[in-house]
């Protein structure tokens, strides 16, 4: 688990964001944005508040940019690890540990005092509250926007002179600006200015957070409703089909009854033979109906017969050719619901044909092999492949890369589950896809 975490590029990306935040200090400091010059001129020229306000704004913006990277990095890293390990508490604990750690690293590297002060604590608390409140409903980009506003707002508290005694704004630059403000009698203006901006941005961040998480929640509810509707539709059309199939048994009963009565009434051996043939045909139709109606109906069936049946179901009436690759004995018997398994394979084959549609050298292969007493049935194509992200979704009802509602793979999954079989998808972008249905040992007989 940990190893797979270390392999994930998204995790490294987030750690990268945090490190970038740390090193950013060497490229983007007070000198680079002209803050140092501004402060010098502010000190020497005995100027008015005009330059002071500009200097404060630059300082707060700089601090926000610097802080944003490691806060966001830590937050998203916590999210990702918490999700992957399925331990929601990690989403709070990780930022709580990583962010103070960041401050320690920064202070060890730079002479500039970049203190983990009351402000940092407050910010951490605000972000954690946001984390607890939003419960995964926000996308990373929205989270970044909200966090940047929150940081920008709270940063202003550092510039309020009267808050210094509570541990705000202990950095050298902040201290200097506040001193100057006191000297030139701008203390109250600076307080008002800072407080107003702080309130505007913090309130704005809260409103955004509430708005986006409600919007996201609404979207999710809509999405779930959509899936539920699709599933309801599927089960209803399924039920309709079942009733129809069910009614087929009634005429079949009349045929079988009279047919068997004929063979009782006549002595002609040929007619008896015909009746026998009719009877066995009726029996197989009846078995098929049972298999369609009851998904727990199973019979031992030779792989050869299954393949023939798949070919007949898939290819009758078309001139398509399906290649079969037997890597095992076609006489092996498997315990399956032949009708349903056939429909599942035909679904996979249809998907494979769609994947190579329009390709000149498109190849579809039905592969059958044994692997440690399991029997694997696979359908492969050499189409463009499925991305890992799509692979997670394709089994869901309603997902489709085509225009029709995707029911096919949801059905395949249902059949596999009914047979106690597992499904595996192996897809390489640009090389093609193979989907395996792996029948467990107990359903295979040699």
């Amino acid at each position: 688990m940990i190893a797979s975490l270390l392999k994930s590029w998204t995790i490294w990306m987030k750690i990268g964001v945090m490190l970038f935040g740390v090193f950013l200090l060497s490229w983007l400091g007070p000198d680079e944005i002209g803050l140092t010059d501004l402060l010098i001129s502010l000190r020497e020229d005995e100027e008015t508040g005009n330059k002071l306000m500009l200097a404060v704004f630059l300082l707060v913006s700089l601090n926000t940019v610097l802080a944003l990277f490691h806060y966001i990095g830590a937050l998203l890293l916590g999210d990702e690890i918490g999700d992957r390990l399925n331990r929601p508490w990690l989403k709070i604990i990780i930022p709580l540990i990583v962010i103070p750690l960041d401050y320690i690293v920064i202070n060890a590297y730079y002479s500039l005092t970049y203190s983990f002060s009351a402000y940092a604590l407050l910010l951490l608390l605000a972000i954690l509250l946001l984390q607890a409140f939003e419960k995964d409903r926000l996308k990373p980009i929205i989270k970044t926007i909200i966090c940047s506003q929150l940081i920008f707002g709270i940063e202003w508290l550092n510039e309020i002179p009267s808050l210094s005694q509570y541990g705000f704004g202990q950095g050298s630059l902040s201290k200097e600006i506040k001193d100057i403000a006191v000297q030139i009698g701008f203390e109250q203006s600076l307080t008002l200015y800072s407080l107003t901006l702080c309130l505007i941005f913090v309130i704005n961040a809260v409103i955004l957070a509430v708005y986006f998480s409600l919007a996201e929640q609404k979207w999710r509810i809509k999405q779930e409703l959509h899936y539920a509707q699709l599933e309801a539709m599927q089960s209803r059309s399924g039920r309709e089909a079942l009733y129809l199939v069910h009614d087929l048994k009634t005429p079949l009963t009349a045929i079988e009854g009279l047919n068997s009565l004929i063979s009782l009434k006549v002595d002609d051996s040929k007619i008896k033979e015909y009746c026998q043939k009719i009877s066995s045909s009726i029996q197989s139709v009846s078995d098929m109906i049972s298999e369609i109606l009851y998904d727990d109906k199973r019979h031992w069936c030779r792989i050869k017969d299954l393949v023939e049946y798949v070919k007949a179901s898939r290819l009758s009436g078309t001139n398509l050719n399906l290649k079969v690759d037997f890597q095992t004995d076609p006489e092996i018997k498997i315990f399956i619901n032949k009708i349903r398994m056939t429909r599942a394979l035909v679904n996979l084959i249809d998907n494979a044909y769609d994947a190579v549609n329009g390709m000149e050298d498109g190849k579809i292969l039905l592969k059958i092999k044994t692997c440690e007493n399991e029997l694997w049935l696979g359908v492969s194509d050499n189409g463009k492949g499925i991305t890992p992200k799509e692979q997670e979704k394709i089994w869901k009802a309603g997902f489709s890369t085509k225009s029709h509602p995707g029911m096919g793979l949801a059905f395949v999954r249902q059949v596999a589950k009914g047979h106690g079989a597992s499904l595996e998808i192996d897809s390489k972008l640009g090389h093609g896809t193979i989907i395996w249905i792996k029948l467990a040992e107990r359903s295979v007989s040699r």
Binding site: K249, T253, A254, E256, G257, S263, K265, S286, S445
Partner: protein, 211 residues
Amino acid sequence: MNILVIDDDASIQYMLSEICEFAGWNVDTANNGKEGLIVFAEKGADVVLVDYHMPEMDGIKTVVGLRNLNADVPILVLTVDERQEIADRFLEAGATDFALKPVKAPDLISRIQLHERLAKLTQSATQQKPSEENDVFVTKGISKRTLCHVSDFLHSNREPFSVDTISKEVGLAYPTVYRYIMHLLDEGKVEIIVSYQKIGRPKNLYQWIVD
């Protein structure tokens, strides 16, 4: 012998009538459960064949109605429904046995004959000592003659059998036999022997406990 066929499908009515007439029995037909009860009340029958899916009154209600009129008449259910729960509900309602559609003429004839024989056996038994026992069994969905039939088989062949085998040997449907075996198990007359096979799940076998 008089057979009453209750089925809403004309072609099946015709087919069942032809088979019964071939076997030399008289047939009355009814299109649904309601009609069936009226015909049975007027004319009576030695064996009743009942369909499951019918308009007006379905098979289960019909069986209950028939049992109210007569506690002993063998009621054979003909159904396309293979679900065990449906079979259970029928037995609960008082049906004697099942046949799954499509059914072949010789099978149906021998099944009807079996129930006729069983009915005669218990008739003579109950005439000797008319007890309340019978009614108790009927309400629980267990009829005494079928119970005797199943337990006689196990009693005289002291080996373990699967429900499948017993069902074939005694000529009753699988759900019927299963239910009676469960009853005998509750009564402590029969024990389970688990048989592990080469393939598939282990199978339960049932054996009469030597007393």
